[in-house]
């Protein structure tokens, strides 16, 4: 047991942090987001868009991808990295991945809570969408925008569906585990970013002649959020590691544990961040709502905490009688 990042992973996260910071949108982000070509090219040049591809171009772990996802989310980067990684992984599993098709949106069902092909998720600049219908891998084209609540991530309709292959049960579970781990990593980045910007404000903003961050009521609110963030990091690392290292069903359980924690924690942290910002937190110009919006889309996608807990109960206690 050794739960420490390698030097390479620390460098990878730092690289992703710099790409994310360069791509960070003005506050508020322009709508619709539009593809940040320079940011996407930076990800491609660094080899991050094919990080999980088999062979010499890729060879990265799910944890590597999670570190990149986290750092991009932390900066609120509007880059469609998460959708692309998940879509590419489906195509790779059925042998029809092509690097020049990227970026790519990933499909979910209309409720967003399950895999499917009704919604193209992370559709900014996407050249197509890939989703799962039961075991079938389906490609499609990106249709009209659905008007995403998340100002950094487009969701759109799907048109021209076509089945390109089928996944075995294990591959399907592995993919689900990866999706849960990476969505949890995005939530980790979102809450981290929301907290650090709010804490920065609490250091500067003065009332009663003192920084508001010197008041215990504000300090304790912030401290509770850091506990949520650091616990999230601990559980996200494990879920991502599990994708490559555990049996598929255990990997899915690890993913559900991570998603159950991060889905709730991210909303709590982002709402607390608005509280720390005070009146400014209610304005369109303040990034606090941009974090909160991204947290809500991530939370719903593949199931919120309640839905994860119901599945966890089935796994631990047996199906409901």
């Amino acid at each position: 047991v050794d739960v420490r990042l390698s030097d390479e992973q620390i460098q990878l996260a730092d690289l992703a942090r710099r790409i994310g910071a360069a791509s960070a949108p003005a506050s508020p982000p322009p709508q619709p987001p539009g593809l940040d070509g320079a940011g996407w090219a930076a990800l491609e040049d660094a080899g991050l868009t094919t990080l999980l591809a088999p062979g010499p171009a890729g060879g990265g772990t799910a944890l590597d991808a999670a570190l990149v996802v986290e750092q991009l989310a932390r900066a609120l980067a509007p880059l469609p990295y998460l959708g692309t990684v998940l879509a590419d992984r489906l195509l790779t599993a059925v042998g029809s991945a092509r690097a020049d098709d990227l970026p790519m949106a990933v499909g979910f069902d209309g409720s967003l809570s399950a895999p499917g092909t009704e919604v193209a998720w992370d559709a900014t600049g996407a050249r197509g969408v890939v989703g799962l219908e039961r075991r079938g891998v389906i490609t499609g084209a990106v249709g009209e925008t659905l008007g995403s609540a998340d100002l950094t991530r487009e969701v759109s309709a799907v048109v021209n569906r076509r089945q390109v292959g089928e996944l075995g049960d294990d591959d399907r579970s592995r993919w689900l585990a990866l999706a849960l781990a990476l969505l949890s990593a995005d939530l980790l980045g979102v809450m981290e970013g929301a907290l650090e910007t709010a804490v920065g404000h609490a250091r500067e903003r003065k009332q009663f002649g003192r920084p508001v961050g010197s008041f215990q009521a504000v300090q304790h609110l912030c401290a509770d959020q850091l506990v949520r963030v650091e616990a999230a990091r601990s559980v996200v690392w494990h879920a991502a590691w599990a994708v490559d290292e555990l049996d598929p069903s255990d990997a899915v359980l690890a993913g559900r544990v991570a998603k159950a924690w991060t889905a709730r924690a991210a909303i709590d942290v982002c709402e607390a961040a608005i509280q720390v910002w005070g009146g400014l937190g209610l304005t369109w110009e303040c990034a606090a709502h941009v974090y909160l919006r991204r947290a809500h889309l991530d939370r719903r996608t593949l199931g919120d905490e309640r839905s994860q807990l119901a599945s966890i109960a089935d796994a631990r206690l047996g199906a409901h009688r």
């Binding site: 050794d2 401290a223 690392w237």
Partner: protein, 375 residues
């Protein structure tokens, strides 16, 4: 990052599991009195005899010199076996390791580890709780000895302790954090009186301890004179580690019991969700502790980040006991399962003992998040 046991870790786990199957006491830990002390002593002795105490302590003082993550493996297995927690001597030992002289380490650490000498921690006082630095117990230097006068409170296991690691004021004129020193006091000396406190759950783990002109040789000073505050802070940073004090094993054990009961019963959906939430909280804590212990591989102290671990452990413990109370329903409120209510009441100590949750949050805010100091 690797959550899998390395070959040596796997072998260790395997041996430990077999040992627990043969040696773990079947009966629950008695609530108090001599029976509690006796079980504790026997369990401690058995663990020590077969090499399960002081896993991450240096070998020179009777430990095994293993990396800190072995403490997590120990907690996992002890909890899964339903055995009593491993006696939490670790935090006092760390104080001795860090601040004691070579002679003091050699004198005190083996007995502490083996359980042959029972120790208690004399920090809190009636007027020095969260504000620990305002300790008033005096240690006056008279020739080659200190004379101790004062009172301690909430002192765990003092009723059968042989020695006390005492935080006392040696320089009343110095600023309050600088006038403190740590002394080893013989609990059998004349002038030491212990009065057990009956707790809300009926336990008598905590005590009041009175010191009336108790002589203590100068050679019992641990660290430098005036270094008491630094020693106390290093000690409590270990006391806040869920694996360091053996609390993780209690959570693993309770979760396992609740899940076993839950499988046997037909729980309604809200109860199933509550139990799943308890599983998530226990997993999150387990994984977080593994990360914290890995970070300590270089021998560093838990530091201010340890307060995050304690807040998380408190959340988990109190959630688990809420779920236990709900799941066990009426039996928790009648004579049929008195232990359920007693353990629930004890869980309220989690957010008070070892520094309240409010103190932990202030530490996190000021020393981890870097917010400006408040009052």
């Amino acid at each position: 990052v690797n959550y899998r046991d390395a070959p040596q870790e796997a072998a260790f786990r395997h041996q430990l599991r077999a040992w627990l199957a043969a040696n773990a006491p079947a009966d629950p830990v008695p609530r108090g009195g001599p029976e509690r002390a006796a079980l504790w002593r026997d369990w401690h002795e058995a663990l020590y005899r077969d090499g399960w105490m002081g896993l991450s302590w240096p070998t020179a003082y009777g430990g095994r010199g293993l990396p800190a993550v072995y403490e997590a493996i120990l907690n996992d297995e002890v909890g899964a076996a339903g055995a009593p927690p491993v006696p939490h001597v670790g935090f006092l030992g760390r104080a001795m390791l860090r601040f004691g002289s070579e002679a003091q380490r050699r004198e005190h650490l083996p007995g502490l580890l083996s359980g042959e000498v029972v120790w208690c921690q004399g920090f809190s006082e009636p007027d020095a709780g969260s504000d620990l630095a305002s300790v008033r117990t005096r240690a006056r230097l008279e020739g080659d000895r200190f004379v101790v006068d004062g009172q301690k409170v909430w002192t765990s296991d003092a009723a059968w302790a042989d020695r006390c690691l005492l935080l006392a004021r040696t320089d009343p004129d110095a600023p309050k954090h600088e006038g403190l020193s740590a002394l080893v006091v013989d609990m059998h000396a004349s002038g030491v009186v212990v009065r057990p406190i009956v707790q809300a759950n009926g336990d008598t783990e905590f005590n009041e301890v009175f010191f009336d002109q108790v002589p203590v040789p100068v050679s019992n000073l641990i660290g430098e004179r005036g270094e008491g505050w630094a020693l106390a802070m290093a000690t409590v940073s270990y006391e806040r580690g869920p694996a360091d004090v053996g609390f993780s094993s209690r959570y693993t054990r309770l979760l396992r019991e609740l899940e076993d009961e839950g499988r046997a019963a037909s729980l309604d959906e809200p109860s199933r969700l509550a139990l799943a939430e308890a599983f998530v909280a226990t997993e999150v804590l387990r994984l977080h502790v593994l990360r914290s212990l890995s970070r300590r591989d270089d021998g560093s102290d838990p530091g201010a980040e340890g307060s995050i671990d304690k807040l998380l452990a408190t959340h988990t413990e109190q959630l688990l006991h809420h779920v236990a109370m709900d799941q066990r329903g009426a039996s928790a409120l009648t004579r049929s399962r008195p232990d359920v209510l007693e353990d629930y009441l004890y869980s309220r100590a989690a957010s008070i003992a070892g520094g309240t949750s409010q103190i932990q949050r202030t530490i996190v805010a000021e020393r981890v998040l870097g917010l400006p100091r408040g009052r």
